[in-house]
């Protein structure tokens, strides 16, 4: 059975890729399994300057998931290009670079730098960041801001741009439509949901940053709903993610309308999860009556367009 999938700018051996921030720059996991098995790798967010990130503790465990507040720690885009990308270029796996920023200009500059290289085959625009120039409002919650950053980044990028949507919004479809209209080649969704955990004894939040992003199976139903809803209103491809632990979860995302998937938190539970899912996927597709990955995409929509009620 073929698992191959073609997306703008990307020919994927299979639809499985590690999610940004959960796989570093690939180096550590190269000690665990052969990275050539992966469909693609989405590397950790890059910003213009190096960032130390937040204080520790940076992670906490929740029911069926975890909270993280790493704070976009990274060595800065030039160091990533010089110190991390050469290692990855030795693998036969498309690299998707996650771009973060605190202003439109920063997103543009980081994208320009990354697309100078031949290793980066696509950009994933992480718009779940506050815009410091506009009082910290998140790019990912304002359709106009999201459209602006998308079109400016598109203008300087010769590789496809996938915009990574934040679920921390009341209208995900409006966000998706706005970035599609602004020229996005694809979507990637969802990023983490803002959450918090308080220690009963110390009466203090567990994370030093107080709040963090919730990920893992706890958010999967939300991710599935959002992919499903967005699929009915936009035509660009979707990389789906949020709580995937096994090949059945992958199929659920495909049915909802994702064209490929990313796997984040599950890597911490089981560092071999990506190759294990790749191995199990053909059997699961077959079990549910599909002949290929392509065949399953969007098949959860066959009962027609649903009107989602908006409270």
């Amino acid at each position: 059975m073929t698992l191959q999938i073609n997306l703008p700018g990307l020919v994927l051996k299979n639809p499985i890729m590690p999610a940004s921030g959960c796989f570093g720059f690939g180096r550590e996991y190269s000690d665990v399994f052969d990275l050539n098995q992966l469909g693609a790798i989405i590397i950790k967010a890059a910003t213009k300057q190096s960032r130390y990130g937040n204080q520790t503790p940076r992670v906490a465990e929740t029911s069926s998931g975890m909270l993280n507040a790493i704070g976009l720690q990274n060595p800065g885009v030039e160091a990533i290009i010089n110190q991390e990308l050469p290692f990855l270029s030795d693998y036969d796996v498309p690299i998707i670079a996650n771009v973060a920023g605190s202003s439109v200009e920063e997103y543009v500059e980081v994208t320009k730098a990354l697309t100078r290289t031949t290793t980066v085959k696509a950009i994933e625009l992480n718009i779940s960041c506050p815009n410091v120039k506009q009082g910290g409002i998140q790019f990912g919650t304002d359709p106009e801001l999201a459209a602006e950053v998308t079109s400016k980044v598109k203008a300087v990028s010769h590789v496809p741009v996938y915009v990574k949507l934040s679920p921390n919004t009341s209208n995900i479809v409006a966000m998706a439509k706005a970035v599609e209209a602004a020229g996005a080649d694809g979507l990637s969704m969802i990023n983490t949901l803002t959450g918090m955990q308080i220690n009963l004894s110390s009466r203090k939040p567990i994370l030093a940053n107080k709040t963090g992003g919730l990920s893992g199976p706890a958010i999967k139903p939300i991710a599935i709903r959002m992919v499903y809803e967005v699929r009915q209103h936009v035509s660009i491809p979707i990389i789906g993610m949020g709580g995937i632990m096994n090949a059945e979860d992958v199929l659920e995302f495909l049915l909802a309308g994702a064209n490929a998937v990313a796997i984040g938190t599950a890597n911490f539970h089981n560092p071999f999860v990506c190759p294990e899912i790749i191995q199990a996927l053909p059997g699961v597709l077959e079990q549910y009556g599909f002949r290929s990955v392509e065949d399953a995409i969007g098949k959860g929509h066959e009962h027609g367009v649903t009107n989602f009620s908006r409270a």
């Binding site: 996991y29 000690d31 993280n68 790493i70 199976p217 911490f268 089981n270 560092p271 071999f272």
Partner: protein, 256 residues
């Protein structure tokens, strides 16, 4: 190379209040685990426990391919682990992290300073350096007498001083008080325990050569997620990852 090992519990026994010693048998590969390294253990399942628990390697029996861990029940993950039985199989990433660099240093005398759940990794260390002919003195701190473990095991390897916060066993006070009172001679010190203790120890022994082993909440355990960073002490705005560059560091290498 980190391996995912299926480890069979061959012994599990309570050795002090809320403290479990567990012996785990695995493949040939676990023989190479070194003192200071840890096992990143999966407990329960993804619904109950998404994150693995880091637990130090307290001893290795190379012939039988058995590692010993000693852990305190402090929350739901360690509680779950404490309820596992002989014959149960647990999934662990092993060996993780760095070890005490005992092959690179020469010394005649070593001082081991452990606090609570920081005591276990020092046991395998003590065994290995004793074998190299090093004279070992240990100072082990616990909350109170019912928490004390491994006194006789350490005593077999050298002088062993116990200190409890409430004075119900051995000296009363903190490990640093005992260092003051005994003023032991040593070439290198090795310390593991809660951060406040490590801070006190490393500032007291500021001018001495030593290694510390530190804890932090972890995600991946293999250096990929940046959950476990600690700033370096060289003013460079740099950092180390405890799971990969540590947990063992030179005493003044990182900011506690």
């Amino acid at each position: 190379m980190i391996n995912k090992e299926l480890l069979t519990i061959v012994e599990t026994i309570q050795i002090a209040k809320e403290t479990i010693k567990m012996r785990l048998q695995g493949s040939e590969k676990i023989k190479h685990a070194k003192p200071g390294q840890f096992v990143h253990i999966k407990v329960g399942n993804e619904g109950s426990h998404m994150l693995r628990r880091p637990i130090s390697i307290a001893d290795v029996n190379q012939d039988q391919q058995i590692v010993t861990i000693i852990f305190k029940v402090i929350g739901s993950g360690t509680d779950h682990l404490s309820k596992c039985h002989v014959g149960d199989v647990i999934d662990g990433l092993i060996p993780c992290g760095t070890s005490y660099p005992i092959e690179q240093i020469t010394m005649d005398k070593a001082l081991l300073i452990g606090g609570g759940i920081g005591v276990p990794p020092l046991y395998y260390l003590a065994k290995q350096i004793k074998e190299q002919g090093v004279e070992v003195t240990s100072i082990l701190g616990f909350q109170s007498s019912e928490h004390v473990f491994y006194q006789s095991e350490f005593a077999e390897l050298g002088k062993c001083h116990i200190v409890t916060n409430d004075g119900t066993h051995g000296f009363q006070g903190f490990v640093t008080d005992v260092i003051d009172q005994l003023d032991p001679t040593f070439d290198y010190y090795f310390s593991c325990g809660p951060t406040p203790m490590l801070k006190a120890v490393s500032s007291k022994l500021q001018d001495r050569n030593g290694y510390i082993s530190i804890e932090q909440r972890m995600g991946c355990g293999i250096g990929a997620c940046y959950a476990c960073v600690v700033p370096t002490n060289d003013g460079s705005n740099g950092f180390k990852k405890i799971c990969k560059d540590g947990p063992v560091f030179e005493a003044n290498e990182v900011v506690l």
